[in-house]
């Protein structure tokens, strides 16, 4: 079944969704659309349900309420979708090179004799090239460093030319230089291929140059809009239900509990707060 998917149709449509896990409501009343080519950040502190939202889009977590449509279907699956989970543990002894991993992104779901054509390998090498990882092609995946594995897995998610890529904390284990590099890379690929990107992060600052909109998760609810619309004192105060102050320091957004606020639950997800004295 090939659903005709017009350019105007949103890639993802989430309306009034809620997820309950183990008797706890992770979030509810979440609704937003993602347009083709849009770069969307899911922002929030640990435990606010960012990964759960990605899984709900994938259809691996059932919704308690509402609905999610991905590429015209009830759950995101298949060639038009790439996904990189947060934690992939690979045994160092697996008989699998980086290029074998990337190739699985093209044909891993296909039944049939395990033979690959030259054009498959060319696409694999192109995908590795797009993330600057050609030199890792022949290395065993389990013997690569965390950052190198991250690149290979990113190539794996891009190799099938998907319309949507879901990335769970792709920046979490990278040093600042690599973070900038990967963010620039993702922004470029998203623009060039008109590919929608949804990624989770606890800090929005490194992503500011590429983000079109953000979904800010806190206290079981979401605020959606551009960074300017969402990262505001009044919006986040309403979302958290306690006084929040949003300050912009040297072009970086810093979110802190307002001084004297009784709620001490830390919202500090920008490390510079400690290092840079406030003006």
């Amino acid at each position: 079944m090939t659903a005709v998917h017009g350019e105007r149709e949103p890639i993802v449509r989430i309306s009034d969704a809620a997820v309950v896990l183990g008797g706890r409501t992770v979030w509810s009343q979440v609704g937003f659309d993602v347009q083709p080519g849009e770069f969307l950040g899911l922002i929030g502190t640990n435990g606010t349900g960012k990964t759960t939202l990605l899984r709900a889009i994938l259809g691996t977590v059932p919704l308690a309420e509402g609905s999610i449509q991905v590429l015209g279907h009830a759950r995101g699956r298949g060639h038009d979708l790439g996904y990189v989970p947060q934690k992939v543990v690979v045994d160092p002894d697996l008989p699998l090179r980086a290029r074998d991993v990337v190739a699985l992104g093209l044909d891993g779901a296909k039944v049939g004799l395990p033979l690959r054509t030259r054009s498959t390998w060319e696409r694999v090498e192109r995908a590795l090239g797009a993330v600057d990882a050609q030199d890792l092609s022949e290395r065993r995946i389990g013997r690569l460093s965390g950052g190198q594995q991250q690149r290979v897995l990113l190539a794996q998610s891009l190799v099938s030319d998907p319309k949507l890529v879901l990335l769970d904390e792709p920046l979490a284990n990278l040093d600042p230089a690599s973070v900038q590099e990967i963010v620039a890379l993702l922004g470029r690929i998203s623009r060039e291929r008109n590919m929608a990107v949804i990624l989770t992060a606890h800090d929005m600052n490194p992503l500011l140059p590429v983000l079109d909109r953000i979904v800010y998760l806190a206290k079981g609810h979401a605020a959606v809009g551009t960074t300017q619309e969402v990262a505001r004192t009044d919006v986040l105060t309403r979302l958290y239900g306690s006084p929040i102050e949003v300050v912009t320091v040297h072009g970086r957004v810093v979110i802190l509990p307002a001084s004297g606020a009784p709620d001490t639950e830390a919202v500090h997800h920008s490390e510079p707060v400690q290092r840079e004295p406030l003006p």
């Binding site: 008797g23 409501t25 009343q29 308690a64 309420e65 045994d91 309403r238 239900g241």
Partner: protein, 309 residues
């Protein structure tokens, strides 16, 4: 009440000496196995537990060849195998199971060798078969003393390392940072596991050793996630299944066609399995119920938000 029971059932259950021995030894073995089983299931070492039961039987048949007491064959082979498994023990579960499989396969190869040597020396292969499947109603009274001693030793070892293991179950690196000797804890636990498994295998058969080690603990961990409580639940389930199984096996002589009593090992294993299935069903049902209740709570939360705005 007793009169009614005697009327329905064949009677003589509590007056036969073999039954009393079976109840005492079986119940005690079930208790020790259940306690060791909780950590075995938590640590994902069921395969090692099962392998130790069969590898003990290798030692049993080897001891038989050498003319050494079977008890020391079982215990020696079990403890040796446990230490080998732990020392080559790789940390990822996937690799550990492969390594366990290879040691296990080699051990079973030795069984084949001992069986062959035994039959060429004129023994029958029934010896090894009895070692594997055991028989609760023909326990050698001579083993009762050592079995109880080893069981107490196993319990003491588990208690000694239980706090270390609990912390390690959370995260091995955190445990190491707190000063837990993770390697030593692993070895001590494997020795405790080997003792528990071997005494069960020796007294009531290797098949039952696996069932009584894994079954009650798996049930308990379905019901509760607190370790001390899981141990209590496992002990109750294990001892209960054993007593009930012995009873059914004893009674089956009366109503089974051709008066062939059902083996106690089958009865106990079947009851343990039914217990496990029931806890799984119970868990699924209660999870479905909380999910439905949870949706209602979502509704309430959104109500409150609307009022607040």
């Amino acid at each position: 009440m007793t009169g009614i029971r005697m009327g329905i059932f064949s009677g003589g259950f509590f007056t036969t000496e073999a039954v009393w021995t079976a109840l005492l030894v079986g119940g005690f073995a079930a208790l020790v196995a259940a306690v060791a089983g909780v950590f075995t299931v938590m640590r994902g070492q069921s395969f090692a537990g099962h392998a130790l039961a069969d590898l003990g039987a290798v030692g049993g048949s080897g001891a038989f060849l050498l003319g050494v007491s079977q008890l020391w064959g079982f215990v020696g082979a079990g403890v040796l195998a446990a230490i080998v498994l732990e020392v080559i023990g790789l940390h990822r579960v996937r690799e550990r199971d492969i390594a366990t499989g290879i040691v296990f396969g080699f051990g079973l190869g030795l069984t084949a060798l001992f069986l062959y040597l035994g039959t060429t020396l004129g023994h029958s292969s029934n010896q090894a078969v009895a070692v594997l499947f055991g028989s609760l109603f023909s326990i050698d009274p001579g083993v009762v003393g050592p079995v109880i001693g080893l069981g107490v030793l196993s319990l003491a070892l588990v208690m000694l390392v239980s706090r270390w293991l609990s912390l390690e179950a959370l995260d091995a690196d955190i445990a190491r940072a707190r000063g837990v000797p993770v390697r030593l804890a692993g070895v001590l636990f494997m020795v405790a596991l080997a003792l528990a498994v071997e005494l069960t295998a020796l007294s009531i058969g290797a098949v039952l050793a696996t069932a009584l080690l894994i079954g009650p603990a798996a049930c308990a961990l379905q019901v509760t996630s607190r370790i001390p409580r899981a141990m209590w639940v496992a002990v109750v389930v294990g001892v209960g299944c054993t007593v009930l199984g012995i009873f059914i096996s004893y009674e089956s002589y009366a109503w089974s066609p051709g008066h062939r009593a059902w083996p106690a090992s089958f009865c106990i294993v079947a009851i343990v399995f039914v217990c496990y299935l029931s806890t799984r069903v119970w868990n699924t049902v209660s999870a479905a119920m909380t999910r439905r209740r949870g949706v209602r709570r979502v509704g309430q939360v959104s109500e409150r938000i609307r009022e607040g705005n």
